[in-house]
Symmetry: C2
Subunit: 442 residues, 2 copies
């Protein structure tokens, strides 16, 4: 592994809601870690470094995607302008019943190509055939938290199969892969299965990545059927006693927020999906006030059409101002705190990523700042949130390795990925009447 | 003027809410018009054509920006996270009191560089020192509807000065420039001044571009002070008897919508600003149902940070689904109908632009479709609305002239523009206490 030194870049720092941009800094990377940051860092003649010219580029922590279904890029544009029920039952669940492990591999590669181009270095993925996603992570060089989604109707044997996946891949790919359990959601698993999942997670010393309280209807249905909210069911079944990523959690009750505070469970927030599926009010203040970690996510491209974390960052800030009818809500620094510190905490990696500092993992995106759309630069941080394009991402480093330079991907052959997928499209677009991986409650 | 022929592009057609994408077409451009569209168009040996290779590119009508304050890109990032009142009174109005005509010229050039890079070929601009904006339009090659903003307190003499601007520039720049009157808003002009503006517009056979009903507070204030809504004041003073662009019009009453229907006045819709300034509910259905033309706009970069019409298109569709809590609201075809046919109607150019067809003006943007973020291409129209990036715009043609090819601007020297503006930044960033061009009511 070559050491890297980035020369003369600007660095964005966000700590405790305070912003600071240091100009013209060097970043020295040794192995997988940031070794030093400073002005004109000396490098001894004995050291061999690959030099990256960073003049004019803005270094930010590699973007994190705290909840995705990466291979769903295969279905991009196939389920537009339909109700949530139709989206699941008439499109996504039938389409997913066609998937083979190889489809998932190439879908994961396509999604990772897109994420790297967008400056994303780490993803928490929640899907099927996760050995294939893990292989794509190995190849692409990204960092990932991988959870094999499992439904209650698949039974304990399938849960155990996902436990075996955890053991096969935990810490693999030079430490870039973390594996968790992925029970799909309270409404698709049920009490007993959640209890079993929490027990297994404790045995394996791992976490749980799960959808929860995505719509107010889900919360109402849970209260009606079980007398408790979905979040309360997570608490009652022990899920919140292990590290947990809660995807969406748009409708926590006051009681739910109290339960979540202090458990360490974090919420993955993907506003583009919430807008697109008309899922209702999108408010973060209560979770933030209670100290519940909130991070950014793209969800799957089946609903959000892109795996673009910068786009979600912009929408999050805009939507919060809209939700509270207050332009002073979620200032730039808070939005960036969520994108970096918040997302790292949701991934349970707050002490390793999300900050550019010596001793942290070298996960870095370098953005061009010479575009007319980010000029003038009175406020480079506001430009990042409100004006930059993900196409401004020039160079991406993960775990100390270059994944993209000068917008050229170094680990993924895009032409091959598109060719492999093109050969599968006709089959992937078919929906067999009645064939579904699961049923969404009407 | 060289004739152009685009070979083998895909063409997006949106007519009456129906979508169609024709594959592998040639577009023949003679002078400023589209002469023919078809397969393998023959070109006689005597004709001299510049050939543009369009294989794999998607041709769309040049994007239209129906309401902007282009030179405000000079203040990008300077007024973040503040209330609407502070935005006007503490930032924008004081900052604008510093502007010189030369500042406005270079600001306009910067904004036009950004717009051309984003595939925008026509803008309705509403600002000050509009001779300078007109000069920038001459140079940049864009099409523009230009209105010199005027406040009531500036008096009749200033209104007459803007009438002289209209006469100086009407139809200039090879027909690319249209000039209208620009009384700022009912609340900053008042009844008598609006009446005078409408009279002048009739005398000059021109239109009026004005802000109206931007917030519910403005409507309440108007009802309290004048007993009628801002829209009713436009009707009463004769403003709606001439062609009119109504910027924002977020809070029309039922009565207002009835008044607007049939007048031909169109609404410029800029959702990014409405979200960012927490301006409240953003609903278009009532205007659409009544047949009032609605077009896309960016507003000024002082509030929306970018001049990116594709970004506004995406936000409009997402925000409408959110507003009505219904993912079937504003399907892809309707969003594109607003972007193209709707915007052209708002600009009162529905028979000239917004559609790619023989006899129409040759205003065209060609987008790359080979990005991983727009793959697969099950639905290229959904990809355009929900997945594409403005950086996908490869080539831009306006009035039959190439403005950008292979992402290289052909009419604007970006380096020179940034250098000129850099020399002005220190002065532009100053705010003199108490010095403002106008006052926003508290």
């Amino acid at each position: 592994m070559a050491n890297l030194i980035i020369r003369g870049c600007d660095i964005l720092h966000v700590m405790d809601g305070k912003l600071n941009i240091e100009l013209c800094q060097d970043i020295e990377i040794r192995g997988k870690l940031i070794a030093a940051i400073g002005n004109d860092l000396p490098v001894s003649e004995n050291d061999r470094f690959q030099i990256i010219e960073g003049q004019g580029l803005l270094a930010i922590p590699g973007l994190m995607n705290t909840h995705a279904h990466v291979p769903m890029v295969l279905f991009r544009g196939m389920a537009e302008d339909v109700s949530v029920q139709a989206w699941f039952n008439d499109y996504v669940f039938p389409l997913e019943s066609n998937l083979t492990p190889e489809d998932v591999y190439w879908g994961a590669m396509l999604g990772m190509a897109e994420m790297i181009e967008n400056g994303v270095t780490c993803v928490a993925d929640h899907y099927f055939y996760m050995d294939e996603v893990a292989r794509a992570v190995e190849t692409s060089g990204m960092r990932a938290n991988l959870a094999w989604a499992v439904f209650g109707h698949q039974g304990e044997a399938q849960l155990d199969a996902t436990c075996q996946f955890i053991e096969r891949w935990q810490g693999k790919a030079d430490g870039r892969i973390t594996t968790w359990l992925g029970p799909h959601a309270p409404y698709t698993t049920g009490r007993d299965f959640l209890k079993l999942s929490a027990e297994r997670a404790k045995q394996l010393d791992t976490g749980i990545h799960i959808h929860v309280s995505e719509t107010s209807e889900q919360v109402a249905l849970s209260l009606q059927e079980h007398g408790i909210t979905p979040v309360q069911m997570l608490a009652e079944t022990g899920v919140l006693e292990v590290p947990a990523i809660l995807a969406h959690c748009l409708y926590p009750t006051n009681e739910d927020v109290k339960i979540l505070a202090g458990t360490g469970a974090g919420v993955a927030h993907a506003p583009k999906t919430y807008l697109k599926l008309g899922m209702g009010e999108i408010k973060l203040q209560q979770l933030r006030d209670a100290g519940v970690p909130v991070g950014l996510a793209t969800d799957g491209a089946g609903s959000s059409n892109t795996l673009d974390v910068l786009e979600q960052l912009r929408m999050m800030a805009l939507v919060q101002k809209h939700a509270y009818r207050d332009p002073t809500t979620m200032p730039v620094a808070e939005a960036l705190e969520i994108a970096f510190e918040g997302s790292a905490r949701v991934l349970q990696m707050g002490d390793q990523i999300g900050v550019l500092a010596p001793g942290r993992l070298a996960d870095i995106a370098l953005l061009r700042q010479d575009g007319v759309h980010v000029f003038p630069r009175f406020d480079p941080a506001a430009n990042l949130v409100y004006s930059s394009k993900s196409a401004d991402v020039d160079t991406v480093i993960c775990n100390g390795e270059l994944l993209m330079q000068g917008r050229k991907l170094l680990t993924i052959d895009k032409g091959q990925v598109k060719k492999e997928i093109s050969a599968r499209l006709e089959r992937l677009g078919q929906r067999t009447p009645g064939k579904r991986i699961a049923v969404y409650p009407a």
